[in-house]
Amino acid sequence: MEYDENGVSIVPAELKKDIFEEARKDFRYEEYVRGCLNCGVCTGGCPPHRFFDFSPRIVLQKMKSKDPELIWTMMDEYVWACFQCFTCAMICPFLNSPGGVIAILREIAVRRGFESAKKVLKPYSRVLLKLTAYGNQLSPDMIQPDFFPDWGPHIGYASTDLAVKRKAIPMPTLQVTNLAWDVAPETMKELYDIFDEAGVFKIIESVDPSLYEIIQDIVDDVRSS
């Protein structure tokens, strides 16, 4: 990507048009984008709208404008402000889905390895690694204060003596802290096949090449076992 003298990226009009076309061609587009009379029900019911400059009504209006410039303005930080709760789709009188439009745009951002996508997905690299290595999404040893600031002031205490706390759980556990449950190698192989088919590995490669390398090693090991 090119940058101007102020370090702001210069985005060719062609790229913006491509992105718009890619969104328009998405098989979900017709279902998600219908009529809109700016009634504001979607934004009125939108939880993130209370915290960020984010409005599902604007998302839908920009999409309906068919103006690649306007759609481009959402591709950086804007699309990541959505909680994907789909309250907007639940209440829109036209049955539009602004949340669905966001999903389409996010997928484009991820597929194309946009900086905003990389930044947002960075905290998930630990989860992706855990998932590909063990078939677990979250395990006790991932509970660390740096990664869960939203857990409040007790996260420090919660992250200590994990092995002991694990033993105190009054139900059968694996009694380890790096796993929540055991996943059979056959299941892992099936998971990788799904990831291959769905393009998940490709996405990881585009947003985090170094993570991709580590994951590929694990995948090769499991597949050859």
Binding site: G40, G44, S55
Partner: protein
């Protein structure tokens, strides 16, 4: 020998059709499902009518009086057409009422079965029936009609009232994509009425579009200019309960203030009009078509909006779609003319 014409439904359209036919010397059988005449305006005690705020009784009361005093209109109260058959160009109908069943032959038929108010409880986001202070357009009309305009929760006069438009209309979620045509004007009328009688009470109207078509626009301007009604663009996303026994309207003011949560003492939902269960029923019984919105379908919406697809069966009033009372009365007369012509031709 006089013609015999059956009129089904004793609301504004059916009453006017019956009165017109009676003046032409026709013997009219007027079948009414309720125990009284006047249809929804009477049932829900509409008090003043837009656009000129004349008492509803001037209109509905007048039509009822004319109907009752006409010697050639037989009114069947609490009754229904239980069986209906074509008989050549004429029709054999069984009229079932408390006093038994009566079979009669009619030269033509006018269907004026009207509409039902949308039940706002069907759209959960408005919390109708959950909070006492959330009422709808017909509830307010009845309160005004009974001179009992107070908050249902505590019996005290409200200080701040919201009117929410398009409830049950223009919304694919509830299955009604159409505009109910009159609710904007009725709500503006109600807001003016409220401001006139209770000047201490603030009025807000939340809208997606205000459709006070034609001369009804006068009311809309008057509401703003003379009655200080706050008109805010934004449909309400949710109604929740608030502090101090208030109901909170949550939405987006798409033109000015952005997201808002405003507490009100009372919320009035402008619930729209539906074909009601009577439309498919009568469509089945008489073998006439129903449209995709649940109303009866005219043969040609522009050329002959008062004709059904079946020769000899005519349509009038809100049974063919949302309509103002004046339109229903006009259609009653138009259907009467058509039913009479058909009857005379096939005598």
């Amino acid at each position: 020998m006089s013609e015999n014409i059956l009129v089904i439904g004793g609301g504004p359209a059916g009453l006017n059709a019956a009165v017109m036919l009676s003046e032409l010397g026709v013997n009219v059988a007027l079948v009414e499902r309720d125990s009284f005449l006047g249809g929804n305006p009477k049932k829900f005690k509409y008090k003043f009518l837009f656009p000129d705020m004349q008492p509803a009784d001037n209109v509905i009361g007048e039509l009822i009086k004319k109907t009752e005093s006409a010697g050639n209109i037989k009114v069947y109260y609490s009754s229904e057409v239980s069986d209906f058959k074509e008989n050549g160009k004429k029709f054999d109908a069984v009229i079932k009422s408390a006093s038994g069943s009566e079979t009669k032959t009619f030269d033509s038929v006018i269907v004026a079965t009207g509409f039902e108010h949308f039940d706002p409880a069907r759209d959960a986001k408005y919390s109708y029936q959950l909070f006492d202070d959330v009422i709808d357009i017909k509830d307010l009309e009845r309160m005004m009609g009974e001179n009992n305009f107070v908050r249902p929760s505590n019996g005290k006069p409200p200080k701040k009232v919201a009117f929410i438009l398009c409830v049950g209309s223009r919304d694919r979620h509830v299955g009604n994509q159409y505009c109910s045509r009159v609710c904007c004007t009725v709500s503006v009328k109600q807001a003016i009425e409220m401001r006139e009688h209770f000047p201490d009470c603030e009025a807000y109207i939340f809208y997606m579009d205000i459709r006070t078509y034609g001369f009804f626009e006068d009311l809309y301007w008057k509401a703003m200019e003379e009655h200080d009604v706050q008109i805010v663009k934004g449909r309400i996303a949710e109604i929740t309960s608030g502090p101090d026994n208030t109901v909170v309207c949550k939405g987006e003011d798409t033109l000015l203030r952005g997201p808002f949560e405003i507490p009100f003492d009372m919320v009035v939902l402008a619930s729209g009009m539906e074909g009601g269960p009577q439309s498919p029923e009568i469509s089945n019984k008489l073998g006439i078509e129903l449209d995709e919105h649940g109303f009866l379908k005219p043969e040609n919406v522009t050329l002959s909006p008062f004709k059904s697809n079946k020769p000899g069966v005519f349509l009038a009033g809100a049974c063919t779609g949302p309509k103002a009372i004046s339109d229903s009365i006009t259609e009653g007369a138009a259907a009467a003319m058509n039913a009479y012509t058909y009857a005379v031709k096939n005598r």
